[in-house]
């Protein structure tokens, strides 16, 4: 068994044919992931006891002749902003360095019920704020494709673990591109489903109107299988959607002939040439598969960054108010008053980017500025979402780049927060509109850096998105 390149289909087949047991697989996967981790720092910590217990349950089900579940034996990494009962969940923050949650996230419960084997918790930017994974209090993640480069963020550990073969699939979270951008930088598939498609019960909140739990895998099929298991209404999250979950794999049947695809001209204007050339080759492949490609316009794209960073920081300043040194976090020593305890704990505990965003959010919500910034941004959000609903009257899917450039070097953009924010331009619009979107590998630059192609579809049309991305990947995904 070639552990680093296993697919879910191979695991199913191997378990069914008794070539290996789930326990053997979990043991080997853990060994591999732990040995590979010093290179990338993709995992913050492992949970071998929990992993082996999950694997034993799968083997017991197989021995009884029961269905072991859709993810039976599959090694999974879970981003460390998703809570796991009894297993430390730090959110990449010093404040939560010792936090051991008393409950499991719904997505975690569902993936384990389906036989998934959680190996450990994946590194990430502190409270999922960042585009390079350099904001983790526990050290940056290195891109397994090029170790002097960032893996993207904020789900950089999840993407690196999957790319490295240290997990078959991973859960991440996406607020403005935090699953798709690292997937593109590391050369794997990253899915941001429709807003509300996956319960966020147990996802530590960053910006509640934008947060999603996303899925990563080396193939579209594997990522789709993971979404299949975690998707669907959950009464513990009142924002989770009631829409039924179709059978994604059955619908990924390769029938893309006649699909109408839109290329928004605003997304191709300022593209780095190599990334642009690769996306153009990817679009040519889609044409050869029988898709009809036309240019479209999403006219409010130039306003998306400003809109997004007002809304997400406002919501973050409110959500992060809970870290007060009283209930779950460490507490600054020696504070005389309650208010000093809050200020000192938060001042010492949060990293620079979290502070910057809390400050921005508090500013745009403060008296006298609310209308000018926050309310204005919410109105612009309406216009951006409307651009998409109008475009989807003409086309079935929209195809764009994921990032203006491939993985950059560690430290390269750290001192310029605005430049870092601007690099999120192609991914944040999908979150603002709440539509499903994914990144699928679309070849590599001459220097060997992966480039991702983004596919966006209508609300709840993950099936259409997977069908197109799966056909693209099976046709070679313009590799080589």
């Amino acid at each position: 068994m070639e552990i680093a390149s296993l697919t879910i289909d191979q695991i199913r087949e191997g378990l069914a044919a008794r070539r290996f047991s789930a326990l053997e697989l979990a043991t080997q996967a853990l060994e591999f992931a732990q040995a590979a981790n010093p290179k990338t720092n993709a995992y913050l910590h492992f949970c071998p006891e929990r992993a082996l217990a999950a694997a034993r349950r799968v083997d017991a089900a197989l021995a009884r002749g029961d269905d072991p579940g859709a993810l039976a034996g599959v090694p999974v990494a879970v981003k460390d902003v998703i809570v796991t009962k009894g297993v430390r969940t730090t959110c990449g923050s010093r404040l939560l360095a010792q936090y051991v949650p008393p409950y499991d996230a719904t997505a975690v419960i569902r993936l384990e019920q389906a036989g998934g084997v959680i190996l450990g918790k994946a590194n990430c930017d502190e409270f999922a704020m960042g585009s390079s994974n350099e904001n983790s209090a526990f050290g940056p993640v290195r891109n397994p494709v090029a170790l002097d480069r960032v893996p993207g963020g904020s789900s950089g550990g999840s993407a690196a673990a999957v790319a490295q073969g240290a997990a078959v699939v991973a859960l991440g979270s996406d607020t403005g591109g935090s699953v798709r951008q690292p997937a593109s930088f590391c050369g794997v598939v990253g899915v941001t489903p429709t807003y509300g498609r996956v319960s966020r019960y147990g996802l530590v909140a960053f910006a509640s109107s934008l947060d999603h739990i996303g899925q990563l895998g080396r193939t579209v099929r594997d990522a789709a299988r993971l979404l299949q298991v975690v998707a669907g209404r959950d009464e513990m999250d009142s924002t989770s959607a009631f829409a039924p979950v179709p059978d994604y794999l059955a619908l990924a049947d390769g029938r893309v002939r006649g699909m109408k695809l839109g290329l928004p001209r605003e997304y191709f204007k300022d593209l780095a040439s190599e990334t642009g050339d690769l996306i153009a080759r990817g679009v040519d492949l889609l044409r050869r598969l029988g898709c009809e490609v036309r240019e479209i316009s999403l006219p409010h794209t130039p306003y998306a960054i400003a809109c997004y960073y007002i809304i997400c920081t406002a919501e973050a300043s409110s959500n992060l108010a809970r870290y007060d040194g009283m209930r779950y976090t460490t507490r600054s020593a020696g504070s005389e008053t309650l208010s000093d305890m809050y200020r000192n704990t938060r001042g010492e505990g949060f990293g620079a980017e979290c502070k910057r965003r809390i400050m921005l959010g508090a500013y745009v919500l403060s008296s006298g500025y609310y209308d000018a910034y926050y309310l204005k941004a919410q109105k612009v959000r309406t216009l951006i979402a409307r651009d998409f609903s109008e475009a989807f009257r003409e086309v079935d899917a929209i195809v764009t780049p994921v990032s203006p450039f491939p993985a950059f070097k560690l430290g390269e953009k750290l001192d310029d927060p605005l430049q870092m924010y601007l690099s999120d331009i192609y991914t944040i619009t999908g979150d603002l509109a709440g539509i499903p979107c994914l990144s699928v590998p679309c070849g590599s630059t001459a220097a060997g850096l992966p480039v991702g192609m983004q596919i966006l579809t209508r609300h709840f049309d993950e099936a259409g998105m997977f069908r197109l991305a799966d056909a693209f990947q099976r046709a070679g995904g313009c590799a080589g």
Binding site: V100, A362, Q378
Partner: protein, 99 residues
């Protein structure tokens, strides 16, 4: 535009963040630059546009309410397990009211 030190300290107070002198200087510049960029939104006339708080889907008004049934919850002991200073079943904090 650059935020003044006074503005930065005011916002830090709202956010309950103690900042070092270096951070006050740094955030004055960072926030100023970012807020200037955000003024771009004023190019758009949004007088007739409704604000969008989040994505909403059609559903019955009470659809998200769950059945009013007793269920097991995280108990006090588990809830206090991560507290930096628990005591007598409570979260302990510095004194708030003088006797």
């Amino acid at each position: 535009m650059k935020l003044t030190e006074e503005q930065v300290r005011y916002v830090a107070g709202l956010a309950n963040l103690k900042l070092t002198a270096e951070e006050v200087r740094r955030f004055g510049a960072d926030l100023g630059e970012i807020l200037t960029y955000m003024d771009k939104l004023n190019e758009l006339d949004t007088g007739a546009v409704e604000p969008m708080a989040q994505v909403l889907y059609l559903a019955e008004e009470t659809a998200t309410l769950r059945a009013d049934q007793e269920r097991s919850v995280v108990g006090a002991e588990a809830a206090l397990a991560n507290a930096p200073l628990p005591g007598a079943g409570f979260f302990k904090v510095p004194k708030v009211v003088e006797r």
